[in-house]
């Protein structure tokens, strides 16, 4: 008798009249799609608390909120049976998000559309480099060239952030006609071949990681 009962239950499940319905997608509510400046609630200089909200989906028991930082590709997944979730995210980054509807009765899931927003950041102040201090050749010097007709240029650079990336050296025969002689220099010196009996003007540009450029004074010297 017992066996028969189990058999009957199995038969009943196997021949059920309705297939198990797949969870339907939710509709996203907040934060707004394509908002390029979501301010959210600031936690500190680096993080903000963002509230996500969506509608209930049919045939669904729980939701999976998927948030992706679209720059770093880092994903956060939060499971909940509620229709909103507050998540702490790094500010100053673009995010995309969607909600997956799930049910215990089936492996099928529903997926909402994908929305995007930019979470406002707090840009840090970056210091410009101080203009380079020109050392050699000294201003108004008169000097001879070595055998290879070259001369060593030296200067000092300084930046409060310590993030100078490179220097450019400009050289010319008048202050209005300086042309870029060297770029991408990571040392504070370089050798340049010059002509004898010429009055030269030179200037150094310091460039930091943030793209800040500082122009030094212009020095002059006479080759013999």
């Amino acid at each position: 008798m017992k066996q028969l009962f189990i058999l009957m239950v199995l038969l009943f499940l196997g021949c059920g009249p309705d297939p198990i319905p797949a969870p339907k997608p939710s509709v996203l509510i907040l934060p707004d799609n394509l908002n390029t400046c979501n301010t959210a609630s600031r936690v500190n200089d680096f993080e903000s608390q963002v509230r996500f909200q969506w509608t209930a989906a049919l045939d669904t028991e729980s939701y999976q909120l998927v948030i992706e930082n679209t720059l770093t590709r880092q994903k956060r997944t939060v499971s909940t049976s509620l229709l909103s979730e507050s998540v702490r995210l790094s500010s100053g980054a673009p995010y995309s998000w969607y909600v997956v509807s799930k049910s215990l009765l089936t492996d099928a899931v529903g997926q909402s559309s994908v929305w995007q927003f930019y979470l406002e950041g707090n840009p840090e102040a970056s210091h410009f480099p101080f203009p380079a201090q020109l050392l050699e050749p000294q201003n108004k010097a008169e000097l001879g060239l070595d055998d290879s007709n070259s001369l060593l240029f030296q200067w000092n650079g300084n930046d409060l952030d310590g993030d100078i990336e490179s220097y450019e050296l400009y050289l010319g025969e008048s202050t209005d006609e300086l042309s870029k002689e060297r770029e991408g220099l990571t040392n504070n010196q370089t050798e340049i071949q010059l002509l004898a009996n010429t009055l030269y003007f030179w200037q150094v540009v310091s460039i930091d990681r943030e793209g800040n450029h500082s122009f030094s004074e212009i020095f002059q010297f006479q080759t013999l």
């Binding site: 390029t36 049919l58 980054a93 995007q116 102040a125 410009f128 793209g211 800040n212």
Partner: protein, 384 residues
């Protein structure tokens, strides 16, 4: 000169502290139970010593410790008389303390009235008590307009892709008035004046800026800078519709290549390519996918015909929905929790205005879903 009243004068020890913080012992535990130091003058040049004297010590006495090493030093700063009462019983009070300084010779010129005479002052005409000289060139910072460390500049990038809130901050060490010229993108030009108080130029859009600092009182002085104020990268896919020309601009970033499906036509684009699409149909379906399925899908309906509009928003009693002309639709109001609250069929021949009753509803977000035969749209409305 000190004048102290005390019921057991022998309890007291007196020190003089010079501005350099050096303590000189003046007297220590003398006079036993007798009363008081009365008009006692400690003078290195006196003929008798304090330890040989008797209370109330009226007159001039050499202090216990030799103070002659103070001769010729600067009097500038804080001088202290320290009175230590080392025993619990008995008490008294300091009635008077004066410091008499004897000055000899010709006073040296000190034009800026700081404590450093001109010949030793690294900035004789501007008071600079601290004598700070960051570049060590012998010229004090407050005067050294030509120091490479004089002008300091900082920059802040914008906080959001389309927000013009970058800034530049100017500061200086040398005390002059400076003029700055800032030339930026799209004809931006600004002049401002700043001093050692500093100044910030705010509200700057992303772009390249040329900056030159000059000083009226020094025509030779000029310090120039260049920078780029950057805005954060925009979203992965941005669709911007120019409604007068029906041209859709798609901005694609974040993957190597993109498949853009517009209605039933699919094209492939690479990153950074500017995609412009002419929308030909009344309702258009845009879908952007990448080769990487993890990156998600961008989907948007763009309706070149009129969209439905709802007002007021936020709503308090009744929401007024205006539908596009001559279109049939089924309309449903959903709560934020997804429950259908109200439904209605709308015929193309009807007036376009539909009133949705919301006065009984709880405050919060509601969605109005409008299903036309070929596409649908969802409007959000906030109930107060």
């Amino acid at each position: 000169m000190v004048d102290i009243q005390h019921t057991y004068i022998g309890d007291l020890t007196l020190y003089l502290e010079s501005p350099d913080g050096i303590q000189y012992l003046l007297s220590s535990e003398i006079g036993e139970s007798d009363n008081d130091y009365t008009q006692t003058l400690f003078d290195q040049e006196a003929t008798s010593a304090i330890f040989e004297a008797e209370a109330p010590f009226t007159g001039s006495f050499q202090p216990l410790q030799d103070v002659s090493e103070l001769y010729g030093t600067s009097s500038f700063g804080t001088w202290k008389l320290i009175v230590n009462d080392l025993y619990v019983e008995d008490s008294g009070q300091l009635l008077e303390f004066t410091l008499d300084l004897c000055v000899q010779g010709i006073p040296l010129a000190n034009s800026d009235d700081d404590s450093i005479v001109d010949e030793n002052d690294n900035c004789p005409l501007l008071a600079n008590e601290n004598q700070e000289d960051i570049d060590g060139n012998g010229i004090g910072d407050v005067c050294d307009i030509f120091s490479t460390r004089n002008i300091s500049l900082t920059k802040k990038n914008t906080s959001c892709p389309e927000k013009d809130n970058g800034s530049l901050t100017f500061d200086a060490r040398a005390e002059y008035d400076y003029n700055v010229t800032v030339i930026g993108p799209s004809g931006f030009q600004k002049e401002l004046i700043f001093t050692t108080q500093g100044k910030t130029l705010e509200g700057l859009a992303a772009g390249n800026y040329d900056i030159c600092v000059r000083a009226n009182s020094f025509p030779d002085f000029e310090s120039c800078f260049e920078t780029q104020i950057t805005a954060p990268l925009a979203l992965n896919v941005q669709a911007i519709l120019n409604s007068s020309t029906s041209i859709l601009d798609l901005d694609l970033s974040g993957a190597e290549s993109f498949n853009v499906k517009i209605n039933n036509e699919t094209k492939t684009f690479v990153q950074g390519e500017k995609v412009q699409v002419v929308l030909s149909q009344k309702t258009n379906f845009i879908q952007v996918t990448t080769d990487n399925p993890c990156l998600g899908v961008f989907e948007e309906w763009i309706n070149l015909g009129e969209n439905a509009k709802v007002f007021p928003n936020p709503v308090s009693n009744e929401a007024t929905l205006i539908l596009p002309k001559a279109r049939s639709a089924s309309i449903a109001l959903f709560s934020g929790a997804g429950d259908a609250i109200w439904e209605s069929r709308h015929q193309a021949t009807n007036n376009e205005v539909v009133l949705i009753p919301m006065n009984q509803l709880q405050p919060g977000w509601y969605l109005i879903r409008i299903d036309y035969a070929s596409y649908s749209e969802t409007l959000k409305v906030l109930k107060q």
